[in-house]
Amino acid sequence: MGYPHTPHERETVLLSKYFGDPEARTLDGWKKRGGYAALKQALGTPPGDIVNVVKASGLRGRGGAGFPTGVKWSFMKLDDGKPHYLCCNADESEPGTFKDREIMRWTPHALVEGCAIGSYAIGAETCYIYIRGEFTEPTLRVEKALEECYAAGILGKNAMGSGKTINIYVHRGAGAYICGEETALMNSIEGRRGNPRIKPPFPAVSGVFKSPTTINNVETLAAVPHILTNGADWYKQWMRPDNPKSTGTKLFSVCGNIQKPGNYEVAMGFPFKDFLYDLCGGPLPGRKFKAIIPGGISVPIQTVEEADASFMDYEGFVAQGTMLGSGGVIVIDDAQNLVKQIARAARFFAHESCAQCTQCREGTAWTTRILERIVAGEGTPEDLDTLLDIGENMTGKTICVLSDSCATPVSSGIKKFRADFEALIKKKKVHLVPAVA
Protein backbone atom coordinates (compact mmCIF):
# COMPACT_ATOMS: atom_id res chain seq x y z
CA MET A 1 0.00 0.00 0.00
CA GLY A 2 1.21 3.47 -0.66
CA TYR A 3 0.60 6.86 0.81
CA PRO A 4 -1.42 9.03 0.63
CA HIS A 5 -3.75 6.26 1.61
CA THR A 6 -7.40 6.67 0.69
CA PRO A 7 -9.32 5.18 3.57
CA HIS A 8 -12.00 2.62 2.87
CA GLU A 9 -15.49 4.02 3.50
CA ARG A 10 -16.00 1.61 6.38
CA GLU A 11 -12.86 2.71 8.20
CA THR A 12 -13.13 5.13 11.11
CA VAL A 13 -10.15 7.40 10.70
CA LEU A 14 -9.11 9.16 13.85
CA LEU A 15 -5.42 8.46 14.34
CA SER A 16 -4.73 7.64 10.70
CA LYS A 17 -6.53 10.66 9.27
CA TYR A 18 -3.33 12.42 8.24
CA PHE A 19 -1.24 9.43 7.18
CA GLY A 20 0.31 10.46 3.88
CA ASP A 21 -0.08 14.19 4.48
CA PRO A 22 3.44 15.64 4.80
CA GLU A 23 2.16 18.98 6.07
CA ALA A 24 0.75 17.30 9.18
CA ARG A 25 4.32 16.45 10.19
CA THR A 26 5.20 20.08 10.88
CA LEU A 27 4.21 22.02 13.96
CA ASP A 28 2.38 24.65 11.92
CA GLY A 29 0.57 22.01 9.91
CA TRP A 30 -0.37 20.13 13.04
CA LYS A 31 -1.69 23.24 14.75
CA LYS A 32 -3.81 24.02 11.66
CA ARG A 33 -5.33 20.58 12.11
CA GLY A 34 -6.27 21.34 15.68
CA GLY A 35 -3.05 20.16 17.30
CA TYR A 36 -1.96 21.20 20.80
CA ALA A 37 -5.41 22.58 21.67
CA ALA A 38 -5.92 19.50 23.83
CA LEU A 39 -2.59 20.05 25.60
CA LYS A 40 -3.42 23.70 26.24
CA GLN A 41 -6.77 22.62 27.67
CA ALA A 42 -5.14 19.87 29.73
CA LEU A 43 -2.61 22.19 31.33
CA GLY A 44 -5.51 24.25 32.69
CA THR A 45 -7.26 21.20 34.15
CA PRO A 46 -6.40 19.40 37.40
CA PRO A 47 -4.47 16.19 36.58
CA GLY A 48 -7.04 14.09 38.43
CA ASP A 49 -9.79 15.29 36.10
CA ILE A 50 -7.78 14.25 33.05
CA VAL A 51 -7.25 10.81 34.54
CA ASN A 52 -10.99 10.56 35.17
CA VAL A 53 -11.90 11.48 31.59
CA VAL A 54 -9.48 8.89 30.23
CA LYS A 55 -10.86 6.34 32.70
CA ALA A 56 -14.43 7.12 31.64
CA SER A 57 -13.57 6.84 27.96
CA GLY A 58 -12.72 3.18 28.38
CA LEU A 59 -9.39 3.62 26.55
CA ARG A 60 -7.26 0.51 26.97
CA GLY A 61 -3.61 -0.12 26.21
CA ARG A 62 -3.05 -0.66 22.52
CA GLY A 63 0.29 -2.39 22.88
CA GLY A 64 -1.10 -5.83 23.58
CA ALA A 65 -2.20 -6.27 27.17
CA GLY A 66 -5.26 -4.01 26.98
CA PHE A 67 -4.97 -2.60 30.50
CA PRO A 68 -7.30 0.38 31.09
CA THR A 69 -5.16 3.48 30.59
CA GLY A 70 -6.95 5.75 33.06
CA VAL A 71 -6.69 3.12 35.78
CA LYS A 72 -2.97 2.75 35.09
CA TRP A 73 -2.53 6.51 35.40
CA SER A 74 -4.48 6.58 38.66
CA PHE A 75 -1.84 4.34 40.28
CA MET A 76 0.56 7.28 40.22
CA LYS A 77 0.34 9.11 43.55
CA LEU A 78 0.77 12.78 42.75
CA ASP A 79 1.82 13.99 46.20
CA ASP A 80 4.49 11.42 47.06
CA GLY A 81 7.32 13.89 46.54
CA LYS A 82 9.21 11.56 44.20
CA PRO A 83 10.13 12.26 40.58
CA HIS A 84 7.68 10.56 38.22
CA TYR A 85 8.39 9.27 34.71
CA LEU A 86 6.34 8.51 31.65
CA CYS A 87 7.81 6.03 29.21
CA CYS A 88 6.30 5.74 25.78
CA ASN A 89 6.74 2.28 24.37
CA ALA A 90 7.64 2.77 20.71
CA ASP A 91 9.64 -0.45 20.53
CA GLU A 92 7.08 -1.90 18.12
CA SER A 93 8.66 -5.27 17.34
CA GLU A 94 5.79 -7.72 17.46
CA PRO A 95 5.91 -9.49 14.09
CA GLY A 96 2.90 -8.41 12.05
CA THR A 97 2.59 -4.98 13.68
CA PHE A 98 3.58 -1.71 12.03
CA LYS A 99 1.03 0.84 13.21
CA ASP A 100 3.13 2.85 15.66
CA ARG A 101 5.69 3.26 12.92
CA GLU A 102 3.12 5.04 10.74
CA ILE A 103 1.90 7.22 13.63
CA MET A 104 5.49 8.36 14.21
CA ARG A 105 6.29 8.76 10.53
CA TRP A 106 3.22 10.80 9.61
CA THR A 107 1.87 12.38 12.77
CA PRO A 108 4.77 12.69 15.23
CA HIS A 109 3.07 15.64 16.90
CA ALA A 110 0.07 13.47 17.78
CA LEU A 111 2.41 11.33 19.83
CA VAL A 112 4.29 14.27 21.35
CA GLU A 113 1.00 15.88 22.39
CA GLY A 114 -0.22 12.62 23.91
CA CYS A 115 3.07 12.23 25.79
CA ALA A 116 2.87 15.77 27.11
CA ILE A 117 -0.70 15.31 28.35
CA GLY A 118 0.16 11.94 29.86
CA SER A 119 3.20 13.38 31.64
CA TYR A 120 1.13 16.18 33.12
CA ALA A 121 -1.64 13.80 34.19
CA ILE A 122 0.70 11.51 36.12
CA GLY A 123 2.85 14.30 37.54
CA ALA A 124 5.93 13.50 35.47
CA GLU A 125 8.38 16.14 34.36
CA THR A 126 10.25 13.74 32.11
CA CYS A 127 9.02 11.42 29.41
CA TYR A 128 11.19 9.04 27.43
CA ILE A 129 10.00 7.80 24.06
CA TYR A 130 11.76 4.47 23.62
CA ILE A 131 11.98 3.85 19.87
CA ARG A 132 13.42 0.63 18.52
CA GLY A 133 16.81 1.05 16.88
CA GLU A 134 15.64 -0.09 13.45
CA PHE A 135 13.08 2.70 13.20
CA THR A 136 15.42 5.32 11.80
CA GLU A 137 12.86 7.40 9.91
CA PRO A 138 10.27 7.44 12.74
CA THR A 139 13.05 8.49 15.13
CA LEU A 140 14.03 11.41 12.91
CA ARG A 141 10.40 12.52 12.58
CA VAL A 142 9.79 12.45 16.33
CA GLU A 143 13.08 14.20 17.08
CA LYS A 144 12.21 16.92 14.57
CA ALA A 145 8.77 17.34 16.17
CA LEU A 146 10.35 17.61 19.63
CA GLU A 147 12.83 20.19 18.37
CA GLU A 148 9.97 22.30 17.00
CA CYS A 149 8.06 22.00 20.28
CA TYR A 150 11.02 23.07 22.42
CA ALA A 151 11.64 26.03 20.10
CA ALA A 152 7.98 27.05 20.34
CA GLY A 153 7.85 26.75 24.13
CA ILE A 154 5.33 23.90 24.03
CA LEU A 155 7.80 21.73 25.93
CA GLY A 156 10.49 22.64 28.40
CA LYS A 157 10.57 24.51 31.68
CA ASN A 158 7.38 26.51 31.17
CA ALA A 159 5.31 24.34 28.88
CA MET A 160 2.82 26.53 27.00
CA GLY A 161 3.18 29.18 29.69
CA SER A 162 1.70 26.89 32.34
CA GLY A 163 4.65 27.05 34.70
CA LYS A 164 4.91 23.25 34.44
CA THR A 165 8.05 21.48 33.29
CA ILE A 166 7.55 18.83 30.62
CA ASN A 167 10.61 17.35 28.98
CA ILE A 168 10.32 14.67 26.34
CA TYR A 169 13.36 12.80 25.03
CA VAL A 170 13.87 10.05 22.50
CA HIS A 171 15.78 7.02 23.73
CA ARG A 172 16.93 4.82 20.88
CA GLY A 173 16.96 1.05 21.33
CA ALA A 174 19.57 -1.16 19.73
CA GLY A 175 17.82 -4.25 18.47
CA ALA A 176 16.02 -6.35 21.05
CA TYR A 177 12.40 -7.49 20.81
CA ILE A 178 12.26 -8.06 24.53
CA CYS A 179 12.73 -4.34 25.21
CA GLY A 180 9.08 -3.92 24.25
CA GLU A 181 8.30 -5.63 27.57
CA GLU A 182 7.79 -2.74 29.95
CA THR A 183 10.29 -3.68 32.64
CA ALA A 184 12.93 -4.63 30.07
CA LEU A 185 12.30 -1.29 28.42
CA MET A 186 13.02 0.48 31.70
CA ASN A 187 16.25 -1.48 32.15
CA SER A 188 17.25 -0.52 28.65
CA ILE A 189 16.64 3.17 29.37
CA GLU A 190 18.80 2.83 32.48
CA GLY A 191 21.67 1.54 30.34
CA ARG A 192 21.34 -2.11 31.27
CA ARG A 193 20.79 -5.35 29.39
CA GLY A 194 17.15 -5.59 28.46
CA ASN A 195 16.21 -8.27 30.95
CA PRO A 196 12.65 -8.07 32.26
CA ARG A 197 12.26 -7.50 36.00
CA ILE A 198 10.22 -9.48 38.45
CA LYS A 199 6.93 -7.81 39.39
CA PRO A 200 6.12 -6.66 42.04
CA PRO A 201 7.29 -3.99 42.53
CA PHE A 202 5.13 -2.68 39.73
CA PRO A 203 6.37 0.27 37.68
CA ALA A 204 3.92 2.65 39.34
CA VAL A 205 5.75 1.98 42.62
CA SER A 206 9.31 1.47 41.45
CA GLY A 207 9.95 1.85 37.75
CA VAL A 208 12.68 3.55 35.79
CA PHE A 209 15.43 4.94 38.06
CA LYS A 210 13.52 3.34 40.98
CA SER A 211 10.84 6.03 40.62
CA PRO A 212 7.10 5.74 39.97
CA THR A 213 6.69 5.17 36.25
CA THR A 214 3.90 4.68 33.74
CA ILE A 215 4.51 2.94 30.42
CA ASN A 216 2.07 3.51 27.56
CA ASN A 217 2.03 2.44 23.93
CA VAL A 218 2.31 4.98 21.08
CA GLU A 219 -1.22 4.38 19.82
CA THR A 220 -2.67 4.73 23.32
CA LEU A 221 -1.00 8.09 23.90
CA ALA A 222 -1.88 9.35 20.43
CA ALA A 223 -5.58 8.73 21.19
CA VAL A 224 -5.52 10.80 24.39
CA PRO A 225 -5.72 14.30 22.82
CA HIS A 226 -8.86 13.28 20.89
CA ILE A 227 -10.50 12.05 24.07
CA LEU A 228 -9.71 15.24 25.97
CA THR A 229 -11.00 17.45 23.17
CA ASN A 230 -14.19 15.54 22.50
CA GLY A 231 -15.00 13.86 25.79
CA ALA A 232 -15.36 10.33 27.08
CA ASP A 233 -18.87 9.76 25.70
CA TRP A 234 -17.80 10.76 22.21
CA TYR A 235 -15.03 8.15 22.33
CA LYS A 236 -17.48 5.51 23.51
CA GLN A 237 -19.63 5.86 20.40
CA TRP A 238 -17.34 3.27 18.84
CA MET A 239 -18.12 -0.06 20.47
CA ARG A 240 -20.40 -3.03 20.11
CA PRO A 241 -23.69 -2.27 21.90
CA ASP A 242 -23.32 -5.45 23.94
CA ASN A 243 -19.66 -4.93 24.82
CA PRO A 244 -18.85 -1.67 26.61
CA LYS A 245 -15.43 -3.01 27.64
CA SER A 246 -13.76 -2.15 24.32
CA THR A 247 -14.21 1.40 23.11
CA GLY A 248 -12.82 3.72 20.48
CA THR A 249 -10.96 3.01 17.29
CA LYS A 250 -8.06 0.65 16.72
CA LEU A 251 -5.36 0.54 14.10
CA PHE A 252 -4.86 -2.89 12.58
CA SER A 253 -1.78 -3.73 10.56
CA VAL A 254 -2.45 -6.36 7.94
CA CYS A 255 0.26 -8.41 6.29
CA GLY A 256 1.00 -11.76 4.72
CA ASN A 257 -0.92 -13.43 1.92
CA ILE A 258 -3.68 -10.90 1.32
CA GLN A 259 -4.66 -8.56 -1.51
CA LYS A 260 -4.23 -5.22 0.22
CA PRO A 261 -1.82 -5.27 3.15
CA GLY A 262 -1.44 -2.09 5.17
CA ASN A 263 -2.85 -0.18 8.11
CA TYR A 264 -6.58 0.11 8.66
CA GLU A 265 -8.38 1.92 11.43
CA VAL A 266 -11.77 0.59 12.42
CA ALA A 267 -14.20 1.00 15.28
CA MET A 268 -13.92 -1.55 18.06
CA GLY A 269 -16.17 -4.50 17.38
CA PHE A 270 -15.92 -4.39 13.58
CA PRO A 271 -16.75 -7.79 12.02
CA PHE A 272 -13.44 -9.50 11.20
CA LYS A 273 -14.85 -11.28 8.15
CA ASP A 274 -15.87 -7.99 6.52
CA PHE A 275 -12.49 -6.58 7.45
CA LEU A 276 -10.56 -9.36 5.75
CA TYR A 277 -12.67 -9.64 2.61
CA ASP A 278 -14.11 -6.16 2.15
CA LEU A 279 -11.42 -3.77 3.41
CA CYS A 280 -8.36 -5.89 2.73
CA GLY A 281 -9.61 -7.45 -0.51
CA GLY A 282 -9.57 -11.12 0.53
CA PRO A 283 -7.08 -13.79 -0.50
CA LEU A 284 -4.69 -13.56 -3.43
CA PRO A 285 -6.09 -14.79 -6.77
CA GLY A 286 -6.66 -18.53 -6.83
CA ARG A 287 -5.79 -18.99 -3.17
CA LYS A 288 -7.70 -19.52 0.05
CA PHE A 289 -6.95 -18.36 3.59
CA LYS A 290 -5.60 -21.14 5.72
CA ALA A 291 -4.85 -19.56 9.08
CA ILE A 292 -5.09 -16.09 10.59
CA ILE A 293 -3.07 -14.64 13.46
CA PRO A 294 -5.00 -11.51 14.44
CA GLY A 295 -2.88 -9.82 17.10
CA GLY A 296 0.79 -10.21 16.37
CA ILE A 297 2.63 -13.50 16.33
CA SER A 298 2.31 -14.08 20.10
CA VAL A 299 -1.43 -14.77 20.04
CA PRO A 300 -3.11 -18.12 19.26
CA ILE A 301 -3.60 -18.97 15.59
CA GLN A 302 -7.18 -18.90 14.32
CA THR A 303 -8.79 -21.17 11.78
CA VAL A 304 -10.68 -19.40 9.01
CA GLU A 305 -14.00 -20.35 10.65
CA GLU A 306 -12.93 -18.76 13.94
CA ALA A 307 -11.71 -15.64 12.15
CA ASP A 308 -14.96 -15.30 10.21
CA ALA A 309 -16.93 -15.40 13.45
CA SER A 310 -14.76 -12.84 15.30
CA PHE A 311 -15.51 -9.28 16.25
CA MET A 312 -12.50 -7.01 16.35
CA ASP A 313 -12.25 -6.01 19.98
CA TYR A 314 -10.59 -7.37 23.10
CA GLU A 315 -13.51 -9.63 24.06
CA GLY A 316 -14.50 -10.51 20.49
CA PHE A 317 -11.19 -12.17 19.74
CA VAL A 318 -11.06 -13.95 23.10
CA ALA A 319 -14.47 -15.47 22.31
CA GLN A 320 -12.93 -17.01 19.20
CA GLY A 321 -9.92 -18.57 20.86
CA THR A 322 -7.34 -15.84 20.43
CA MET A 323 -6.49 -12.28 21.50
CA LEU A 324 -6.53 -8.76 20.06
CA GLY A 325 -2.89 -8.32 21.07
CA SER A 326 -1.19 -5.50 19.21
CA GLY A 327 -3.54 -5.65 16.22
CA GLY A 328 -1.03 -7.13 13.81
CA VAL A 329 -3.06 -9.36 11.50
CA ILE A 330 -0.93 -12.02 9.80
CA VAL A 331 -2.68 -13.95 7.05
CA ILE A 332 -1.34 -17.29 5.87
CA ASP A 333 -2.86 -18.92 2.79
CA ASP A 334 -3.09 -22.45 1.46
CA ALA A 335 0.07 -22.13 -0.63
CA GLN A 336 2.19 -21.94 2.52
CA ASN A 337 3.68 -24.68 4.63
CA LEU A 338 2.09 -23.73 7.93
CA VAL A 339 4.49 -25.85 9.98
CA LYS A 340 7.48 -24.09 8.45
CA GLN A 341 5.96 -20.75 9.39
CA ILE A 342 5.32 -21.87 12.95
CA ALA A 343 8.91 -23.10 13.09
CA ARG A 344 10.03 -19.70 11.85
CA ALA A 345 7.98 -18.03 14.58
CA ALA A 346 9.62 -20.27 17.18
CA ARG A 347 13.04 -19.39 15.81
CA PHE A 348 12.13 -15.74 16.24
CA PHE A 349 11.41 -16.28 19.93
CA ALA A 350 14.52 -18.40 20.42
CA HIS A 351 16.55 -15.55 18.93
CA GLU A 352 14.84 -12.93 21.08
CA SER A 353 14.78 -14.76 24.43
CA CYS A 354 16.83 -12.83 26.98
CA ALA A 355 17.79 -16.20 28.49
CA GLN A 356 17.14 -15.25 32.11
CA CYS A 357 14.57 -17.97 32.76
CA THR A 358 15.34 -21.62 32.12
CA GLN A 359 11.90 -22.45 30.74
CA CYS A 360 12.25 -19.78 28.08
CA ARG A 361 15.94 -20.14 27.25
CA GLU A 362 15.72 -23.90 26.85
CA GLY A 363 12.10 -24.14 25.79
CA THR A 364 12.32 -21.75 22.86
CA ALA A 365 15.46 -23.51 21.61
CA TRP A 366 14.05 -27.04 22.02
CA THR A 367 10.80 -26.03 20.35
CA THR A 368 12.70 -24.55 17.41
CA ARG A 369 14.92 -27.61 17.03
CA ILE A 370 12.03 -30.04 17.09
CA LEU A 371 9.90 -28.00 14.71
CA GLU A 372 12.73 -27.54 12.24
CA ARG A 373 13.43 -31.24 12.41
CA ILE A 374 9.79 -31.91 11.53
CA VAL A 375 9.96 -29.41 8.67
CA ALA A 376 13.11 -31.15 7.41
CA GLY A 377 11.16 -34.40 7.20
CA GLU A 378 12.82 -35.99 10.20
CA GLY A 379 10.03 -35.71 12.75
CA THR A 380 8.91 -38.58 14.94
CA PRO A 381 5.34 -39.33 16.04
CA GLU A 382 6.21 -38.43 19.66
CA ASP A 383 7.37 -34.96 18.66
CA LEU A 384 3.95 -33.37 18.79
CA ASP A 385 3.28 -34.53 22.33
CA THR A 386 6.75 -33.40 23.32
CA LEU A 387 6.07 -29.98 21.86
CA LEU A 388 2.79 -29.66 23.73
CA ASP A 389 4.50 -30.75 26.94
CA ILE A 390 7.31 -28.24 26.49
CA GLY A 391 4.71 -25.60 25.70
CA GLU A 392 2.88 -26.31 28.93
CA ASN A 393 6.10 -25.96 30.89
CA MET A 394 6.83 -22.66 29.19
CA THR A 395 3.49 -21.09 30.07
CA GLY A 396 2.98 -19.01 33.19
CA LYS A 397 6.31 -19.95 34.74
CA THR A 398 8.66 -17.17 33.75
CA ILE A 399 9.40 -13.53 34.61
CA CYS A 400 7.82 -12.18 31.43
CA VAL A 401 5.52 -13.63 28.78
CA LEU A 402 8.01 -14.13 25.95
CA SER A 403 8.11 -17.79 26.89
CA ASP A 404 4.31 -18.05 26.78
CA SER A 405 4.35 -16.18 23.48
CA CYS A 406 6.56 -18.82 21.92
CA ALA A 407 4.41 -21.67 23.21
CA THR A 408 1.16 -20.07 22.05
CA PRO A 409 1.47 -20.30 18.25
CA VAL A 410 3.04 -23.75 18.56
CA SER A 411 0.44 -25.27 20.87
CA SER A 412 -2.51 -23.62 19.14
CA GLY A 413 -1.05 -24.62 15.78
CA ILE A 414 -0.77 -28.27 16.79
CA LYS A 415 -4.26 -28.29 18.27
CA LYS A 416 -5.93 -26.66 15.27
CA PHE A 417 -3.80 -27.88 12.36
CA ARG A 418 -2.53 -31.25 13.61
CA ALA A 419 -2.99 -32.86 10.20
CA ASP A 420 -0.39 -30.53 8.68
CA PHE A 421 2.18 -31.64 11.23
CA GLU A 422 1.33 -35.32 10.88
CA ALA A 423 1.58 -35.15 7.09
CA LEU A 424 5.18 -33.98 7.41
CA ILE A 425 6.01 -36.60 10.01
CA LYS A 426 4.60 -39.44 7.92
CA LYS A 427 6.96 -38.45 5.12
CA LYS A 428 10.02 -38.96 7.30
CA LYS A 429 12.89 -41.08 6.14
CA VAL A 430 13.50 -43.63 8.88
CA HIS A 431 17.28 -43.85 8.54
CA LEU A 432 17.65 -40.13 9.19
CA VAL A 433 16.20 -40.15 12.71
CA PRO A 434 18.94 -38.58 14.83
CA ALA A 435 20.24 -40.39 17.84
CA VAL A 436 18.74 -39.11 21.08
CA ALA A 437 20.98 -39.14 24.10
Binding site: S93, F135, G328, I332, Q341, F348
Partner: protein
Amino acid sequence: MSASDDPAYFRMHREAGDLRAPADASHGDHEHGPYTPVFTPGSARRKELDDVLSRYPTKMAALLPALWMVQHERGWVSDDGMAEVAQVLELTPAYVKGVVTFYTMYHQHPVGRHFIQVCTTSPCNVCGADNVVESFLKHTGCQELGQTSADGKYTVIEVECLGACGFATPIMINEDFVESVTPERVPEILSELE
Protein backbone atom coordinates in the same frame (compact mmCIF):
# COMPACT_ATOMS: atom_id res chain seq x y z
CA MET B 1 6.47 -27.61 -2.42
CA SER B 2 7.23 -28.52 1.15
CA ALA B 3 10.01 -26.74 2.94
CA SER B 4 12.07 -29.90 2.99
CA ASP B 5 12.28 -29.70 -0.80
CA ASP B 6 13.22 -26.06 -0.65
CA PRO B 7 16.98 -25.58 -1.13
CA ALA B 8 16.83 -22.02 0.22
CA TYR B 9 15.67 -23.34 3.55
CA PHE B 10 18.76 -25.43 4.02
CA ARG B 11 21.08 -22.77 2.73
CA MET B 12 19.87 -20.50 5.47
CA HIS B 13 19.67 -22.97 8.30
CA ARG B 14 22.43 -25.24 7.25
CA GLU B 15 21.65 -27.66 9.97
CA ALA B 16 18.10 -27.99 11.18
CA GLY B 17 17.83 -26.44 14.61
CA ASP B 18 21.18 -24.69 14.39
CA LEU B 19 20.93 -21.90 16.92
CA ARG B 20 24.54 -20.82 17.09
CA ALA B 21 25.14 -17.12 17.06
CA PRO B 22 25.71 -15.79 13.54
CA ALA B 23 29.22 -14.95 12.41
CA ASP B 24 28.62 -11.23 12.86
CA ALA B 25 28.19 -11.72 16.60
CA SER B 26 31.73 -12.96 17.20
CA HIS B 27 33.46 -11.46 20.19
CA GLY B 28 36.83 -10.07 21.06
CA ASP B 29 37.77 -7.94 18.09
CA HIS B 30 40.34 -5.23 18.52
CA GLU B 31 41.07 -2.27 16.30
CA HIS B 32 43.73 -3.02 13.73
CA GLY B 33 45.44 0.31 14.22
CA PRO B 34 45.68 2.51 17.31
CA TYR B 35 42.25 3.50 18.64
CA THR B 36 41.25 7.15 18.22
CA PRO B 37 39.02 8.23 21.10
CA VAL B 38 35.55 9.49 20.21
CA PHE B 39 34.81 11.60 23.27
CA THR B 40 37.90 13.82 23.49
CA PRO B 41 37.27 16.94 25.61
CA GLY B 42 35.82 19.76 23.52
CA SER B 43 34.85 17.50 20.60
CA ALA B 44 31.39 17.60 19.02
CA ARG B 45 30.66 14.08 20.22
CA ARG B 46 31.69 15.00 23.76
CA LYS B 47 29.23 17.92 23.67
CA GLU B 48 26.55 15.64 22.30
CA LEU B 49 27.19 13.17 25.09
CA ASP B 50 27.08 15.92 27.72
CA ASP B 51 23.70 16.95 26.35
CA VAL B 52 22.47 13.37 26.54
CA LEU B 53 23.77 13.05 30.11
CA SER B 54 21.64 16.02 31.15
CA ARG B 55 18.51 14.07 30.26
CA TYR B 56 18.99 11.29 32.79
CA PRO B 57 19.52 11.12 36.54
CA THR B 58 22.32 8.54 36.15
CA LYS B 59 25.42 8.37 33.98
CA MET B 60 24.75 4.75 33.15
CA ALA B 61 21.58 5.70 31.28
CA ALA B 62 23.69 7.36 28.60
CA LEU B 63 25.28 4.02 27.76
CA LEU B 64 23.13 3.08 24.78
CA PRO B 65 23.37 6.55 23.23
CA ALA B 66 27.15 6.61 23.80
CA LEU B 67 27.57 3.26 22.11
CA TRP B 68 25.56 4.52 19.14
CA MET B 69 27.92 7.48 18.86
CA VAL B 70 30.95 5.19 18.86
CA GLN B 71 29.37 3.04 16.16
CA HIS B 72 28.50 6.07 14.02
CA GLU B 73 32.07 7.35 14.29
CA ARG B 74 33.96 4.10 13.93
CA GLY B 75 31.54 1.84 12.05
CA TRP B 76 31.60 -0.71 14.85
CA VAL B 77 32.15 -1.01 18.59
CA SER B 78 35.54 -2.48 19.35
CA ASP B 79 36.85 -3.53 22.76
CA ASP B 80 38.78 -0.26 22.82
CA GLY B 81 35.60 1.62 22.06
CA MET B 82 33.85 -0.14 24.92
CA ALA B 83 36.74 0.71 27.22
CA GLU B 84 36.49 4.38 26.29
CA VAL B 85 32.73 4.46 26.91
CA ALA B 86 33.26 2.67 30.23
CA GLN B 87 35.79 5.25 31.32
CA VAL B 88 33.65 8.22 30.29
CA LEU B 89 30.52 6.87 32.01
CA GLU B 90 32.35 5.50 35.07
CA LEU B 91 31.45 1.89 34.35
CA THR B 92 33.63 -1.17 34.01
CA PRO B 93 34.59 -2.41 30.53
CA ALA B 94 33.11 -5.79 31.42
CA TYR B 95 29.78 -4.20 32.24
CA VAL B 96 29.77 -2.31 28.96
CA LYS B 97 30.60 -5.47 27.07
CA GLY B 98 27.73 -7.23 28.80
CA VAL B 99 25.36 -4.59 27.48
CA VAL B 100 26.87 -4.48 23.98
CA THR B 101 26.49 -8.23 23.57
CA PHE B 102 22.81 -8.06 24.52
CA TYR B 103 21.78 -5.77 21.69
CA THR B 104 22.02 -7.04 18.13
CA MET B 105 22.54 -3.70 16.41
CA TYR B 106 25.97 -2.95 17.84
CA HIS B 107 28.58 -4.42 15.53
CA GLN B 108 31.25 -6.21 17.47
CA HIS B 109 33.52 -6.53 14.49
CA PRO B 110 33.93 -4.51 11.29
CA VAL B 111 31.22 -5.02 8.70
CA GLY B 112 30.90 -4.17 5.03
CA ARG B 113 30.36 -0.55 3.98
CA HIS B 114 26.80 -1.52 3.16
CA PHE B 115 25.33 -3.55 5.99
CA ILE B 116 22.24 -5.22 4.54
CA GLN B 117 19.63 -6.68 6.87
CA VAL B 118 16.81 -8.67 5.32
CA CYS B 119 13.71 -9.36 7.40
CA THR B 120 12.75 -13.03 7.23
CA THR B 121 10.39 -13.37 10.19
CA SER B 122 7.07 -15.14 9.50
CA PRO B 123 5.03 -12.30 7.95
CA CYS B 124 7.78 -11.60 5.42
CA ASN B 125 8.62 -15.27 5.14
CA VAL B 126 5.14 -16.10 3.80
CA CYS B 127 5.72 -13.42 1.17
CA GLY B 128 8.96 -14.98 -0.03
CA ALA B 129 11.67 -13.29 2.04
CA ASP B 130 13.95 -16.36 1.78
CA ASN B 131 14.26 -15.71 -1.95
CA VAL B 132 15.23 -12.10 -1.29
CA VAL B 133 18.05 -13.30 0.98
CA GLU B 134 19.21 -15.73 -1.70
CA SER B 135 19.22 -12.95 -4.26
CA PHE B 136 21.28 -10.66 -2.04
CA LEU B 137 23.82 -13.38 -1.31
CA LYS B 138 24.12 -14.10 -5.02
CA HIS B 139 24.46 -10.51 -6.20
CA THR B 140 26.74 -9.23 -3.45
CA GLY B 141 29.17 -12.11 -3.66
CA CYS B 142 28.83 -12.75 0.07
CA GLN B 143 29.43 -16.44 0.61
CA GLU B 144 27.07 -16.80 3.49
CA LEU B 145 25.02 -14.87 5.97
CA GLY B 146 27.07 -12.69 8.29
CA GLN B 147 30.15 -12.73 6.07
CA THR B 148 31.54 -9.66 4.37
CA SER B 149 32.17 -9.74 0.62
CA ALA B 150 35.79 -9.95 -0.48
CA ASP B 151 35.83 -6.30 -1.57
CA GLY B 152 34.61 -5.19 1.87
CA LYS B 153 31.55 -3.63 0.32
CA TYR B 154 28.70 -5.76 1.62
CA THR B 155 27.60 -7.75 4.63
CA VAL B 156 24.24 -9.52 4.42
CA ILE B 157 22.37 -10.82 7.45
CA GLU B 158 18.90 -12.05 8.23
CA VAL B 159 17.17 -9.85 10.78
CA GLU B 160 14.18 -10.54 13.00
CA CYS B 161 11.07 -8.47 12.26
CA LEU B 162 11.85 -4.94 11.06
CA GLY B 163 8.31 -3.83 11.89
CA ALA B 164 7.22 -3.06 8.34
CA CYS B 165 5.39 -6.32 7.63
CA GLY B 166 2.82 -4.80 5.26
CA PHE B 167 5.63 -3.81 2.94
CA ALA B 168 7.17 -7.25 2.55
CA THR B 169 10.05 -7.69 2.20
CA PRO B 170 11.59 -4.70 4.01
CA ILE B 171 15.35 -4.45 4.23
CA MET B 172 17.72 -2.08 5.96
CA ILE B 173 20.90 -0.85 4.34
CA ASN B 174 22.91 0.80 7.10
CA GLU B 175 20.35 3.30 8.48
CA ASP B 176 17.97 3.31 5.51
CA PHE B 177 14.83 1.29 4.93
CA VAL B 178 13.89 -0.12 1.54
CA GLU B 179 10.39 -1.57 1.36
CA SER B 180 8.66 -4.14 -0.85
CA VAL B 181 11.91 -5.69 -2.03
CA THR B 182 11.61 -8.62 -4.43
CA PRO B 183 14.47 -10.84 -5.65
CA GLU B 184 14.22 -9.12 -9.03
CA ARG B 185 14.78 -5.66 -7.54
CA VAL B 186 18.03 -6.63 -5.81
CA PRO B 187 20.48 -5.81 -8.66
CA GLU B 188 18.89 -2.39 -9.10
CA ILE B 189 19.05 -1.66 -5.35
CA LEU B 190 22.71 -2.67 -5.22
CA SER B 191 23.58 -0.59 -8.29
CA GLU B 192 22.34 2.52 -6.50
CA LEU B 193 24.86 2.04 -3.69
CA GLU B 194 28.30 3.47 -4.26
